[in-house]
């Protein structure tokens, strides 16, 4: 199955509350898949289940060909994650952060050093390699987070609202980086965002979640056809999103 993702009836419940309900989805290898939805729709919980951070209550999920429950350690070796939070250590420099993460992946020191340089140059942080990350801006921290997520050369990258809180420059830079990783390095990317314009420009396919369910899946163009035109203007993805998520509430 390579670097694809497949879920069947994936469900997560916290007591009586259902965070994700019967999610069936397939993300092909090399795809940049956007997962959209209002707050509380279940996007982050879905990402957590797929990245082995939260066990599902029911259903199955295979990531990179491995079962997320039974082969969680193997799943972790093929995935990279850029979480919503910085999730690295403010007290450490970019190099130290990368070294720590690399060692936890069991990588040899020279490989860590080589990849660190490559990735820090890509995310344009090499000149800041010896500064404590705590002093970085939000955009720099997110770029470092992307670099850390890619250190062990995963073939699937989960990016959970990576541009939230970033200024337009940082947002554009991160978006371009994501595109490069997908198009030039062939990395399968699952990308969640609240920015419809960003999803429209970036993602090859989009799934929209609402109230714990996946309500629509398709390319941005396919989704835009799901709602009637308003005059001459083709509906935007945002129009689609509003229409679909309002209809389902």
């Amino acid at each position: 199955m390579g670097c694809a993702i497949e879920t069947k009836g994936l469900t997560k419940k916290y007591g009586k509350f259902t965070a994700v309900d019967n999610l069936t989805l397939k993300v092909e290898e090399g795809e940049l898949f956007g997962l959209l939805g209002p707050n509380g729709a279940g996007k982050t919980t879905t990402i957590r289940m797929l990245t082995t951070l939260t066990p599902q209550t029911a259903g199955d999920a295979r990531v990179g060909g491995f079962d997320v429950l039974k082969e969680s350690a193997k799943v972790r070796t093929v995935i990279g994650v850029v979480p919503q939070q910085f999730a690295l250590f403010d007290e450490l420099t970019p190099v130290e952060n990368m070294k720590y993460i690399g060692e936890l992946y069991g990588m040899p020191d020279d490989e860590i050093a080589e990849h660190t340089r490559e990735l820090l140059e890509i995310v344009e942080l090499w000149d800041k390699k010896d500064l404590q990350a705590g002093g970085f801006s939000g955009g720099m921290k997110q770029r470092l987070s992307v670099a850390a997520g890619l250190l062990h050369e995963p073939c699937i990258l989960f990016m959970d609202e990576p541009t939230t809180g970033l200024d337009p420059h940082s947002r554009i830079a991160l978006r371009e980086l994501t595109r490069t990783l997908n198009e030039e390095h062939g990395i399968t990317i699952v990308y969640t965002t609240h920015d419809m314009d960003e999803a429209d420009k970036l993602c090859s396919r989009i799934g929209i979640m609402n109230l714990a369910k996946l309500i629509e899946v398709g390319t941005p163009e396919e989704l835009k056809k799901k709602i009637p035109r308003k005059g001459a203007r083709l509906p935007s993805l945002e129009d689609v999103f509003i229409a679909l998520t309002t209809r389902n509430e």
Partner: protein, 537 residues
């Protein structure tokens, strides 16, 4: 890249330790206070325990205004621990001062204090009220006042005893004088006895002599009678014949008579010599008897005086024993001449480790969970055991280092001496630090944020500190709390550290405590592994 997840990966553990050190080193605002804390603790305890409480404010009410009450007032003023800041007319005034927080104690010397002391009919009382709102200060003030009043009471009792002793000494002297008089009387008596005996002897000798004399006289009388008989038998008719016959007889008789006279003279002479000798003997006997009697009387008097003195001393001792039935004498059991801080250090170390590990571990898991950095670790193929053990090892080393730093700081700053081995001390510190870290990890594993962690750890840390005998003696607690104290690792650590550092025990002696501490560490980490959820909620 290694795709396998080992149960315990030492290389990854090393990475976790290294990362934690970098985090600690990078956060100077956290690291510096953590290092300063033990030194601060030992300094506070060190300086606080070198002095005694001073100048705790008190009010005095003297209702008696007598020399005795003034003496007590002076004694109270001489105590450094309290300061008689106010001397007021009534107990109410003094109580008001205490109510307003100006004094910690009020002391009332009631009217009739002096009379009670003088007559001894009833106990003279000093009434004390202590401000109980501050338990520690109240305990301190109470102890100081009890000591002062007891000392004063003892002083009064001793003064009375001294007076009794003086009276007894007077009685002793009178006794001695009486013994002298007795001696003299005895001598006289002895002399009179001897003289009477001598007189009896002389009388006996005189009787013998008298008898001799009587016999001599009777003989003389017999001779005379013979002579008279001769004269009467002269034949008047033929006196010549008779004369001639009797002349020869008369010549014989005269000679015999002369002999008798001579004998009487000899006897008289012997009687005189004997009387002289008897007089000398009597004199000697009298002298000897007088001497013996004097000696005997003197010995008797000395013996009586000594007995009297001994009895007097015994009765004095008895009186003192009655006044103070139990004498408190304290001897150092293990360490002569050691300072209070030497005894405090083991408990402070145990407390610093426990406090540091339980309070500080909030950052380790709960904090990293909250800020997301643990998520990054969860995303790697690293087992829970590796994460927990690696984290525990770092904090155990760190706490061990902090506590060792504390030991050295105490040695340098306060000249603290270790009676036992430094190596064994450090070993116990490391084992206990590992156990406390494991407990901290367990609590941290239960919590999802540092706030939750603080709430959970307070539940454990505060009761532990108060039940483990570091602040309060376990022996004075109710049995149920004593039982609870036995379940606390801090109790065993404090016991083991005290054993080595103060009593000089070697590892073998404290091995039971060390094994229990190891058991605690293993149990805590095992429970932490069970409750530690690799789940981000």
């Amino acid at each position: 890249m290694n795709n396998r997840e080992k149960a315990l990966d030492f290389k990854k553990m090393r990475a976790i330790i290294w990362k934690n050190w970098l985090v600690m080193k990078g956060d100077r605002m956290r690291l510096i206070p953590m290092l300063i804390f033990p030194v601060l603790m030992i300094s506070i305890f060190g300086f606080a325990t070198t002095g005694s409480p001073r100048g705790l404010p008190a009010a005095l009410v003297d209702e008696d205004h007598s020399p005795a009450s003034m003496a007590l007032s002076q004694a109270l003023r001489a105590v450094n621990a309290i300061s008689i800041r106010y001397e007021v007319g009534s107990e109410d005034e003094a109580k008001k001062l205490m109510d307003d927080g100006y004094t910690k104690a009020l002391i009332v010397i009631p009217a009739g204090f002096d009379d009670a002391l003088e007559t001894g009919a009833t106990q003279a009382k000093v009434v004390v009220k202590v401000d109980e709102s501050d338990a520690t200060v109240a305990q301190m003030v109470r102890a100081v006042l009890q000591q002062t009043v007891a000392a004063y009471s003892r002083q009064q009792a001793l003064a009375k005893l001294a007076a009794l002793q003086a009276r007894q000494q007077g009685a002793g002297q009178a006794l001695e004088q009486g013994a002298g008089a007795l001696d003299s009387l005895s001598t006289q008596l002895s002399e009179s006895i001897v003289l009477r005996q001598d007189a009896a002897s002389l009388n006996r000798i005189a009787a013998v002599l008298q008898n001799d004399a009587r016999q001599a006289y009777e003989q003389e009388l017999g001779v005379k009678n013979q002579i008279i008989g001769f004269e009467e038998s002269v034949d008047v008719a033929h006196p010549e014949g008779t004369f001639e016959t009797n002349a020869s007889q008369s010549g014989g008789l005269a000679a015999a008579y002369d002999d008798y006279l001579a004998q009487i003279q000899v006897l008289e002479a012997r009687k005189a010599v004997d009387a002289q000798a008897l007089a000398i003997v009597a004199q000697l006997l009298a002298d000897n008897a007088r001497q013996d009697a004097a000696n005997a009387a003197s010995a008797a008097a000395a013996s009586q005086t000594s007995s009297a003195m001994q009895a007097s001393a015994q009765s004095l001792e008895g009186a003192q024993v009655l006044l103070e039935p139990v004498a408190y004498e304290e001897k150092a059991a293990y360490a002569q001449g050691r300072k209070a801080i030497d005894f405090l250090l083991p408990a402070i170390i145990a407390m610093v480790i426990f406090q540091g590990a339980t309070m500080g571990m909030g950052r380790a898991l709960a904090g990293e969970k909250k800020d997301g950095s643990l998520t990054r670790v969860f995303l790697t193929p690293t087992s829970n055991a590796t994460i927990l053990t690696g984290t525990m090892l770092f904090y155990a080393f760190f706490e061990g280092f902090r506590s060792s730093f504390l030991v050295f700081a105490a040695m340098v700053l306060f000249g603290v001496t270790l009676k036992g081995s430094l190596l064994v001390t450090l070993l116990i510190i490391m084992i206990f630090a590992a156990g406390c870290t494991a407990l901290g990890l367990l609590l941290s594993a239960l919590a999802n944020s540092q706030e939750q962690y603080m709430a959970i750890s307070m539940l454990v840390s505060l009761p532990t500190m108060f039940l483990s005998g570091v602040f309060l003696p376990v022996q004075t607690m109710p049995p149920i709390l004593q039982g609870l104290a036995e379940l606390l690792p801090l109790s065993y650590a404090a016991t083991a550290l005290r054993g080595v550092m103060i009593k000089g025990f070697d590892l073998g002696v404290v091995m039971p405590q060390v094994l229990i501490l190891i058991g605690f560490a293993i149990a805590f980490i095992a429970i932490a592994l069970v409750v530690f959820k690799r789940e981000i909620v």
